[in-house]
Symmetry: C2
Subunit: 198 residues, 2 copies
Amino acid sequence: MARAGVTAERLTEAAAELADEVGLENLTVSELARRFGVKDASLYSHIRNAHELRVRVAGLALAELADLAAAALAGRAGKDALVAFAGTYRDYAREHPGRYTAMQVDLDPDTEAAGAARRHSDMTRAILRGYSLAEPDQTDAVRLLGSVFHGFVSLEMAGGFRHHPRAADESWSRMLDTIDVALRNWPAERAEPDASHG
Amino acid sequence: MARAGVTAERLTEAAAELADEVGLENLTVSELARRFGVKDASLYSHIRNAHELRVRVAGLALAELADLAAAALAGRAGKDALVAFAGTYRDYAREHPGRYTAMQVDLDPDTEAAGAARRHSDMTRAILRGYSLAEPDQTDAVRLLGSVFHGFVSLEMAGGFRHHPRAADESWSRMLDTIDVALRNWPAERAEPDASHG
DNA sequence: AGCTTTTACCTAGGAGTCCTAGGAAGAGAA
DNA sequence: TTCTCTTCCTAGGACTCCTAGGTAAAAGCT
């Protein structure tokens, strides 16, 4: 009887694929074993439990997406970089919904997955170099960008924009226009009401 | 033997409570039955399946939150309304993480839960009355607000802001300042690159 | 009050998943 | 070739979801 050649890496990769197909909540150890032509119990020498499987998928996704975002960012600056970076997130979520969902799991700080998470915030900071924001505004802006990207993608995935004729693509690009303007007009510590601009 | 007096409503309420305690992913029919002092099979005369339980929790949360938001909105306008509305979302997510997570489930359009979802977007539109935006910009702005609120709350819940000294509260209020400014300076159809402002 | 109808809850059980314990067989090293 | 390590196995317990069919309590009717 030849062996199936299961390793933690191949397992993680296959788990990511499976999660994209059936949704993260339907990612099961049993089905994964079935795809490797192996009994479910056999997988527990490679992974500790089902939760670890999800954490591994999260780590994979975080690293993959960081690579894609880095590539998209190369040679771009300012709004150009903003749009490219944001587009990478949205495209990744559309192509890999299971992996994207996995990224939201609560991972402990000192794993390599947390390192990938750090790359994301570093890249977001890099985008902000085009907008000259000092701390602590920079951190606030990083969080704003993260919120906007993730929020839109998350709502779109959940079907929140499906029941209105306005195309999500349009709203997406107008939102990025708005954020671009907002970053250039970053308000001072106390923002005075000022309607004279529009 | 006295009956436990289970109804779909009491079940949904208890399910929401349970989800808040142990997380939506750990909401099980069995545990719910246990809390009612009843066998799990007995619950299936009240609910169709475990998924319907989650959908019901989503509907409950959507309606609850809509009521809270409406109350917060009463008598406020402009940025005041924006901040109050946003705060209601964040507070609700902190107090009811299970219910909040449930709201993200993909619910079909013609249930009463979808009606509650509609109330949310209507209220968001109401906030925008203070910023005089015409369609289709208004829809884009509704989606921007939804993205920003949900994105921040979601990342905060996932622990995304825990490993940085800057307090999430600060970032939150600065984000709302920024969004307020952005809504007042809503860009025209084609935003020209313009770095002369900062 | 007695009768019927409804329904809340039950027992029994199958199917699926997660995970542990301990054993057997393949693959590489001595 | 034999020893050792690792991969994969069988067996099985605990839990969850859900169905089918039965019993008893409540509610409605005469």
